[in-house]
Symmetry: C2
C-alpha cells in the first residue's frame, strides 16, 4: 500500500466533496431536495419584498399537515402540556387548572407521569417507556382483533424513519445484500440503502391496476436478482402507498406473506398511513393481522415481519415531535437484543414523541369528558381530507394529458402527465428530468411546491409528480385553479 | 460468484446473528450494556417482591440527572408547556393563565410560536428553526466574546449523539479511514466507527497528569497510523472529559489546533459538559474561541472545526427530549450542503428539543420577572453538583487501592482500582473483564450501577469504573458508605 503524502500547507480542506463518504454523496432525497430548497429561497425573497406571481409558497412536497394549519387534537396537546409542567398538577393550583383542563386530561397526565418516572426530562428505557409500549400492545391487539402483542417486541422510535433506517441497516451490509423496494417508492428507502451501500431491488407497482402489485412479477424479480448474485433479504411494502395512495386487500396481503415465506424474505411493512383511508371498499388491514390470521401455519410461525407506524400522519399529524414505533413478529431473540443495543447507542427516543404515541394508541373513549370533542375534531379532519383528495383528483383528471388514480389512502396523489416533446427537450437542455422541469416551472408560476416523479422512481418514459392534498379547504379552489392555469399555460407554451 | 441456494422450507430465520450486518454486531455500548440490563432486571425483581441487600437500584451508569430527581428549570418547562398548548395564550384565558405563569414565560412562548410557525407539531426546516439557530448564534458570539456565528453553519440535532454520528459517518467510509479518539473515551465514538467499519486511532489521556493530553504523543500516533496505511481524517476531543472529567487550558487548545493544521485533521470538539465546571483554575474555554483567537492566521482560516453541544447535561439536564446542536467552522459549502441533505432524510430534529436549545441559549436575563428563580435554581443545582463531586472524590480516594483524579468538569468520576490477583482470576474464570466483575459485584451488593472502565478503554493492566455523582444530596452519605462497605468486603474476600 502506498502511504499518502501529507503536506503541511496544502491550502485544501480535509473534508471535501472528493474525500467525503461516497455513500453519503450518492444519497438522494427529493422530498426536501432541489425544488424544496428553491421554495425556501422564494419564501425568503417574498418576505424581503420581491415580487412573484403569487403571495405565498404552498408546500405540497411533504406530508406536513400542521404546517398548513391542520389543528392539533386538543386532548393530546392538553395532556402533553400538563406532563411538561407538572407544577400545574399540584393541589394548590387545582382550582385554576380545572377551569383550563378537562378532568380526563388531568387524570391521563398524572398516569403518564407516574408511568414515565420522576420526569419527562430523563432518558427512558432505550426501547421506550414500558407502560407506553403496553399501550401500543393493547392498541395492536384491539386493532387486529388478535392475540396480544409482546411489549418486548415493540420499539418506540423518533418517527417511523429512524426505525426503518435501523432495520434496513441491520439487514444489509454491502452491495451484495439487496432489499426489494417498490417503484414508485418513498425515497427514505433508497436513501438508506445508498448509505449502507446495499442494493435496491426494485419492483414496479402497476398504475393501470390502481398501483397494485403482482406476485408473479415479485417472484421473477427476486429470482433474477439472486441469479445475478444479490442476496435479497427483505421486501418493503408501503401500505397505504406513498406516493401512490393505494390500499391493499387482505387477499393480496396473504399472498405476499406466502411469497415471503417461499422466497425467505423478511417483510418490512410501512403502515404509517393506516388511518388515511378514503374508500369503504378498501379498508386498511395490517400485515400483522394478515400474518396472525394466515391460513398456512408454517407461514404464520415463520415469516419475520417488522411493521412501522408513526404519530406524524393520520388525523394526529404531529410530525414535528418525531414519534413512532415498530413491532417485530417472529424475530429471533438475539436479533431483538441487537436492535436494543442499537437503540441504546442513541439512548432513547424523545419522550414527547413517546407521549404522543401513547395518546394516539389510546385516545379518549366514549363516556370520557373529552370524547365528544375528540371525535368531532378527528372526524372533521378526516372528512375534510377525504373531500380534498377527491377534489384534487378531479382537478388532475380534468387537466389535458393528466391522469390520476384515486387516493384510496395516504396524503398524496401521484398523477401521470404527458409532456409535449418540446418541454422534454427544454428539460434536457437545462439538465433536468422532464417532470422536475415541469415541477420547477409550477413552483415559479404558482408558489406550489410538489415533488417530481423522478424522485420516487417511475416506469421509464413516464412522468409524474406527487402532491399532498393538505392545503386548507377554504383555499382549495384557488389552489386547484392555480395549478390548472399553470398547466394550461405550460402545455400551450411547449405544444408540439 | 456462486449463487446462494434458497430452499423453501429450511425452518431457519432470514435475519440471524450470522446473517445480520456484521458491523452492527461489533458495536459495543457499555453505558447501557450488560450491567445496565442486569440493573433493569433487578429493578423489576425488586418490584415483584424479591429480596436484595438494598431497596432501590441507583443508576450511576448514565448522566441522567432528572431520573435521580434533579428538578427541571421552572422557566424552561413553563415556556415549553405554553408552546405545547397555545390555547392557553388566547385572550379569554389570560385572567387564569396569568395566575399560573409569569409574564416573561408568556411573552417568550408567544415569540417562539411565532418563530416556529403555525404549530410546534409541524416539521421544521431540516437544519432546525432559523430563529432558534439565530439564538444559538447569539449565544456563541456572547459566550466566546467573538465575531458573530453564521446560522447557516449551525445544525440543530436530536441530542449531541446524532450530530456526532452524522459527522463521523461523513468523514469515514471503510477500514481505510481512521479517526483519532481518546482513551478512555465515551463509547458513542467507537460504536459509530464500528458501524461504518472505520478504524479508531486511539490516543491515551495521561491519568497522572489529570488526564491531560500531550501533542508529542498525538503526533507520533498519527504518523504511525498513516505509515500503516490508515487515512487519519479527524481528531476527537471531549472537553470537559467523559469519562475523565478534565478541563483543558487555552494553551492546550491552541496547540491542539496547530497540531490539527499541521497534520491536516478535522477537529471534532465534544463540549456537552461545558457548564459542568467545578474548579476556578480551569474555566471552560471553547475550541471555537481558541480557533477564532488563534495567533496563527493560517490555522484560524484553515482548520475545520465541528463543535457539539446538548441540552442533556449542565444544569439543564433535559436529556429525555433529545436536543442539541453542532456548529461548523471552515467547512466547505458543498460539505454543508451534504450535511443538510442528510438532515433532510430524517426530516427535522424534534421541535421540543429545539425549543429547549433556544431556552438554554437564551435563559431569563437580569430584570426579567423569572430571573431570580432561574438563578436560584441554576445555582442550587450547580453548587450541589460541585459538593457531590468533591464528596465522592474524597470517598474514592479514602478507599484502599483506589485513586481518583479530581473532577474539573463533567458529571463523572473515573477512579482507578487496584484489584487483588484472586479477584482478577475469579473474573477470568467468569469470562469477565476484571473491572466488569468488580462493577457487577457492586451492583449485586449495593444496587449501585456503574460502568466498568473496560467499556471506555484504559491502559492495559489498569482497572477503572465510571460513576456519576448524581444521586440526590440527602442520599449521598448513604450512597458513599454503601460503596465503601462493598469495596472493603470485596477486597477482604479476594485478598491475596
Amino acid at each position: 500500500m502506498t502511504v499518502k503524502e501529507y503536506k503541511a500547507h496544502p491550502g485544501e480542506k480535509v473534508l471535501t466533496i472528493n474525500s467525503m463518504n461516497n455513500y453519503i454523496k450518492k444519497v438522494e432525497y427529493a422530498v426536501r431536495g432541489r425544488i424544496a430548497i428553491r421554495a425556501e429561497e422564494i419564501r425568503d425573497e417574498l418576505s424581503a419584498g420581491k415580487k412573484f406571481p403569487f403571495d405565498t409558497v404552498v408546500n405540497c412536497n411533504i406530508g406536513n399537515p400542521q404546517q398548513l394549519n391542520q389543528k392539533p387534537i386538543t386532548f393530546f396537546r392538553q395532556v402533553a402540556s400538563l406532563c411538561e409542567n407538572p407544577d400545574l398538577l399540584s393541589d394548590d393550583k387545582a382550582h385554576l387548572v380545572s377551569q383550563l383542563y378537562p378532568s380526563d386530561a388531568i387524570t391521563r397526565a398524572k398516569q403518564l407521569l407516574k408511568d414515565i418516572g420522576p420526569s419527562i426530562g430523563a432518558y427512558s428505557h432505550s426501547q421506550g417507556v414500558p407502560a407506553i409500549r403496553r399501550t401500543v400492545a393493547n392498541f395492536l391487539e384491539k386493532r387486529d382483533n388478535s392475540s396480544p402483542a409482546n411489549i418486548n417486541h415493540i420499539y418506540l422510535t423518533q418517527g417511523a424513519s429512524s426505525g426503518v433506517q435501523t432495520i434496513l441497516t441491520m439487514l444489509t451490509q454491502d452491495s451484495h445484500s439487496g432489499i426489494m423496494i417498490p417503484i414508485p417508492q418513498y425515497p427514505l428507502y433508497s436513501a438508506t440503502l445508498s448509505l449502507v451501500g446495499a442494493t435496491p431491488v426494485p419492483y414496479y407497482l402497476d398504475e393501470r391496476q390502481q398501483w397494485g402489485l403482482d406476485i408473479e412479477q415479485l417472484t421473477r424479480i427476486v429470482k433474477e436478482a439472486r441469479h445475478n448474485g444479490t442476496d435479497v433479504r427483505a421486501l418493503v411494502i408501503i401500505n397505504p402507498g406513498n406516493p401512490t395512495g393505494q390500499c391493499l386487500t387482505k387477499e393480496n396481503l396473504t399472498e405476499i406473506l406466502t411469497f415471503c415465506y417461499n422466497q425467505q424474505l423478511v417483510l418490512l411493512a410501512d403502515e404509517v398511513y393506516q388511518t388515511n383511508i378514503y374508500t369503504k371498499e378498501r379498508p386498511f388491514i395490517s400485515f400483522r393481522k394478515a400474518l396472525l390470521d394466515h391460513p398456512l401455519e408454517h407461514v404464520k410461525k415463520q415469516v419475520e415481519l417488522v411493521s412501522f407506524h408513526s404519530i406524524s400522519k393520520g388525523m394526529v399529524g404531529e410530525c414535528g415531535r418525531r414519534g413512532g414505533y415498530f413491532e417485530c413478529i417472529n424475530l429471533n431473540q438475539d436479533i431483538l437484543d441487537q436492535i436494543y443495543k442499537m437503540a441504546s447507542v442513541s439512548l432513547c427516543p424523545n419522550i414527547h414523541g413517546q407521549i404522543l404515541v401513547d395518546l394516539m394508541c389510546h385516545p379518549p373513549q366514549p363516556n370520557d369528558p373529552s370524547y365528544p370533542l375528540y371525535r368531532e375534531e378527528y372526524e372533521a379532519i378526516y372528512q375534510s381530507l377525504k373531500r380534498r383528495s377527491q377534489r384534487l383528483e378531479d382537478a388532475f383528471n380534468a387537466m389535458e394529458g393528466v391522469s390520476c388514480q384515486p387516493a384510496q389512502g395516504s396524503m398524496y396523489l401521484f398523477p401521470t402527465i404527458t409532456l409535449p416533446k418540446k418541454a422534454i427537450q427544454e428539460a434536457q437542455r437545462r439538465g433536468l428530468a422532464p417532470d422536475a422541469f415541469y415541477s420547477e416551472e409550477m413552483l415559479e408560476a404558482t408558489g406550489v411546491c410538489v415533488v417530481p416523479g423522478s424522485g420516487f422512481g417511475q416506469v421509464e418514459g413516464t412522468y409524474h409528480f406527487r402532491s399532498t392534498f393538505l392545503p386548507e379547504e377554504h383555499l382549495f379552489d384557488a389552489f386547484c385553479s392555480n395549478i390548472e392555469a399553470f398547466h394550461a399555460k405550460f402545455l400551450n407554451q411547449y405544444k408540439d
